[in-house]
Structures are given as C-alpha cells and as structure tokens.
C-alpha cells in the first residue's frame, strides 16, 4: 500500500514541478538566486531557530526500547504462530479429527523458545505462515495471563517490569554475538522473569571469552544476568543453511511454504504440501542436506497470501 502511496506522491510531485515550470515559463521567471546568496540566507534562517527544547531523555530511551521490543516481539509472535500452526497441522493429519488440537498459541511460545522465522531471498508474493490453530478451534483462545493484554496499562503488558540493566546486557550480548564472536554465537533468549539473558554459543569452553567481550562493551555488566547454553551451529551457519533450502525451486516433488530454525540451530522445520516426499528429498545425501549438523524436518504446511506489503519477517534482527 505504501508503494502505491509513494507512486501517487511522486506523480503528484512531478505534476507540481511541471506546473511550476509551466507557470514560470508563462510568467517570466527571474534569474535564479546566486548560490552563495542562497547559502548565506539559509544560514541566517537557520540561526532563527530557537534553542533546542530539552529532549525528554527518559521518553526517548523508553520509546526506543519499546520499538526494539516491538520488532523482536513481531518475530517471536510469528514464530509462535508458526509453531502452533505446524503443530495443529501435524495433529490434524495424524488423527483426521477437526476437534481442538492445541492450546492457545501463546502457551506454545511460553513452553519453549520459538523458532527464528525466515523467508529466503527472492521470495514471491506469498509468505510462509502456516494456518493458525484458531482455524480449527471453536471456542475463543484463552489468554495465558488471564488478562487481555489490550486492557493492561502501557508498559505492563509484557509481564513483570524488566530492569534496564537486563536490556543493556542483551545489547552487549547482541553486539558481541553479531560482532567479534560471530563464529560461536548462535542465539539470544531473553528471560525477564528470571532477569537473565541466555546466550547460545557453539563452544561452551569459550563462554569466558564471550563474557569478557561483553564486559568490555558494558563495564557495569552483572555476570548473574548472563547464562550460556549449548548451540548446535552458529547463527551465520544456520542462516546460510536456511538460505540453501529450495524455497523457490521448481521441479521438486513437493511445494515448500515455510521454514524455521529452532533456537539452538540444530534443526530446520519446513512446512510443505507433501511431508513424506519432502523428507525423502532432504534425507537423500545427493541433495546436500545430510551431515551438515542441522537436521531438516518436513511437516505439513500451507501458503497464506501476504495481506500487507511489508517486508516479510526474518529470523532475527541484524544490527
């Protein structure tokens, strides 16, 4: 939609310019002002600006945090939705019933870390979001917290208050993980209820190095806010593997709609129209998906047309 608006605006702007030109040609345009004169006048004009109103530091930092959280939250929500959808699809295929097959999608997200979702480059106009479980549920979903999030005051909808130091810890872990320790970095899992940031790395023997680099970024780092967990492959390797999936290939015995990696990057789950054919394809060493350290599991999935012209969700935000 934004694209249409942009084109409309550009066309309107071009029309204005054309009209201005025409008006100028008929009205006898004076010589354009000399450049130094214009520069000097602009400098004078800029000097008329009143002193900058003291920026609301607290508001800026809180809003920036909220914006970052919203981006992460979108990915997490889509991941949870995908997990729930895949689960519902698998259950439906298993017993053929149309009764309630799963709990609310939020419960899935709480029970286990969501996968990092991705859409490969060159993905066409459909996205890879499996059917949500609500499609097969006749009763309204229950809220995990018992209170609809929309009814909570701002800032209270994410659970207990998060200490700012935890965000700083997450920032430091992210900067180190995407930066100098990208070779061992797998993922980050934010656990505000325990005031802990869990960092997945492939080499647990090097957690001391990782922590030292985090401390270099954040001298006030509290070690108790960081815990390490074993990751299967690095984020870089995991993303490279995901990009290798034949999302847009033709001539395959199945169609592929979705893909996600678990948080340790030990397994990719792909949503397809024919899981057995797809599994056979991925298990065939000739196709290069075996022996990589990342298993590929095919589950039933189905395409959903993209309703908004936004960038498709990706696995995790890059700095």
């Amino acid at each position: 939609m934004g694209g249409i608006d942009d084109r409309y605006e550009e066309a309107a702007e071009a029309r204005e310019v054309r009209e201005a030109r025409e008006a100028g040609e008929t009205g006898g345009v004076a010589e354009a002002p000399p450049e130094p004169l214009l520069s000097a006048a602009l400098a004078v004009e800029a000097g008329r600006a009143a002193p900058l109103r003291e920026p609301d530091r607290r508001e800026i930092l809180a809003e920036a945090r909220r914006l970052r959280g919203r981006r992460t939250g979108t990915v997490v929500a889509l991941g949870a939705l995908a997990v729930a959808g895949i689960g519902a699809g698998a259950a439906l295929l298993g017993d053929g019933s149309t009764t309630r097959t799963t709990t609310a999608s939020g419960a899935v997200a709480v029970a286990s870390p969501p996968p990092s979702h991705f859409v490969p480059r060159g993905w066409p106009t459909t996205t890879a979001v499996p059917t949500p479980p609500q499609a097969t549920v006749s009763t309204p979903p229950k809220y995990v917290t018992g209170t609809p999030w929309a009814s909570l005051p701002p800032g209270a909808s994410g659970g207990p208050p998060v200490p700012p130091a935890l965000y700083a810890t997450e920032d430091a872990a992210s900067a180190v993980g995407w930066g100098i320790r990208a070779d061992i970095f797998t993922n980050i899992w934010f656990l505000p209820e325990r005031s802990v940031v869990r960092v997945y790395i492939t080499d647990m023997a090097r957690q001391g190095e990782f922590l030292a680099d985090m401390r270099a970024k954040l001298p006030t780092l509290d070690d108790r806010m960081v815990e390490f967990a074993q990751g299967a492959r690095s984020k870089t390797a995991c993303e490279a593997e995901m990009q290798r999936l034949p999302m847009t290939a033709s001539g395959l015995p199945f169609r592929m709609f979705s893909g996600s990696a678990n948080i340790e990057c030990s397994e990719l789950t792909v949503g397809v129209d024919d899981p057995s054919a797809a599994q056979a394809y991925f298990d065939d060493p000739a196709h290069g998906f075996t022996g990589t350290g990342i298993a590929v599991r095919a589950v039933p999935g189905q395409p959903v047309h993209q309703l908004a012209d936004e960038v498709p969700p990706t696995g995790s935000a890059r700095p």
């Binding site: 605006e9 309107a12 702007e13 204005e16 310019v17 201005a20 030109r21 008006a23 100028g24 009205g27 345009v29 004076a30 010589e31 354009a32 002002p33 450049e35 004169l37 214009l38 520069s39 006048a41 602009l42 400098a43 004078v44 004009e45 800029a46 000097g47 008329r48 600006a49 009143a50 002193p51 900058l52 109103r53 920026p55 609301d56 530091r57 508001e59 800026i60 930092l61 809003e63 920036a64 945090r65 914006l67 970052r68 700012p164 130091a165 965000y167 700083a168 920032d171 430091a172 992210s174 900067a175 995407w178 970024k217 954040l218 006030t220 935000a317 890059r318 700095p319």
Partner: protein, 173 residues
C-alpha cells in the same frame, strides 16, 4: 541501556543545536523541528546496535530527520491539495497571489515541494555534494540536480532576495 543513554547525552550536548537548526530548515517550524529531532533520536537509538562513533550516530539521526521531514511534507501537501474542496473560496489560498508576492526565505521554502526543500537544505546549507544528497534521499543524482534546478527557479519567482527586494516590492505593491 547505559550505552544508549550516554550516546544520547553526548550527541545532544555536542550537536543538539546543530540538529535543531537542520530540522528547523527542513520543517520551517520551531515546534516541529523539536519534535523531529526527538523522534529521530528515538528511532536512531531503537537500532539493534547504536554506532559508537558520535559522528556516525549524528549522520544517522540527520538521515532520519530528512526522511521524516519529507514524509511529513508529503502528508501536508496531500492535505493542502484537499483544502480547496473543503474550504470556501475566500478561505482557500489564492495561487495567483502567491506567485506574484515576494516572500521571506522561510515562506518561499515552505512553498517548495518537500523533496525540493530537502535538496536545497542539504546542498546549499549542509554543503553536501549532489551525490551525497542523492544517496541520503535514495534517488539518482540526476533527480537531485533537476530538483535543485526547479527549486531555484521557484525561489527566483517567490523569494524576495535581499538585493532585489526593494525594486521588486516597489513594482508589485
């Protein structure tokens, strides 16, 4: 958040007023400029990784300011395009009068389309070469040149430049 807080404090202390002047030229209004700066700071600090180099952070904030200003200008343009349809004849701006009146630079700038205004400020005030302006606005250098050309022609028609102000005003009043 400590890093972000420090980056914010350092940038505002060192370059706050420069950013304000820049936003003021882009928007033409003090309050809007304050809002632009605050919004741009917020968005810059919402990045996953905030640049450690203050100059880099400032460059990023300036880029956000110009994009916000152009977007806001477009929204305003869309609104003013509708005004003649919702206002009576007397209330609507009279284009013919606007053409012959000689305006202050602020008012003349306000008459430019948002992208032309951005080009003028970036090129003539910020002293950025055409290539950098093009990169900032995500358009081609040719587009920037044509926008600058058109903007200068429009300013020549509307702006009462200091040298010619008395003569022109004498003739028109």
């Amino acid at each position: 958040m400590g890093d972000r807080g420090q980056a914010l404090d350092a940038l505002v202390a060192a370059r706050g007023q420069a950013l304000k002047r820049y936003a003021y030229l882009m928007s033409g209004d003090d309050d809007t400029a304050d809002d632009l700066v605050q919004e741009a700071l917020t968005r810059a600090l919402a990045r996953r990784v905030v640049p450690g180099d203050p100059r880099e952070l400032e460059r990023y904030v300036r880029r956000i300011v110009v994009n916000l200003a152009v977007d806001a200008g477009r929204r305003r343009t869309r609104w003013w395009r509708l005004v003649p349809r919702v206002a009576s004849r007397g209330e609507a701006a009279d284009g013919a009068v606007a053409v012959v009146e000689r305006l202050s630079l602020a008012d003349a700038l306000a008459g430019l389309p948002p992208r032309q205004r951005a080009c003028v400020v970036l090129h003539y005030y910020e002293d950025l070469p055409v290539a950098e302006v093009a990169e900032l606005l995500d358009v081609g250098p040719g587009t920037v040149k044509s926008q600058l050309h058109d903007a200068r022609r429009t300013l020549a028609r509307t702006w009462a430049t200091p040298e010619r102000e008395p003569a022109d005003l004498k003739g028109e009043v």
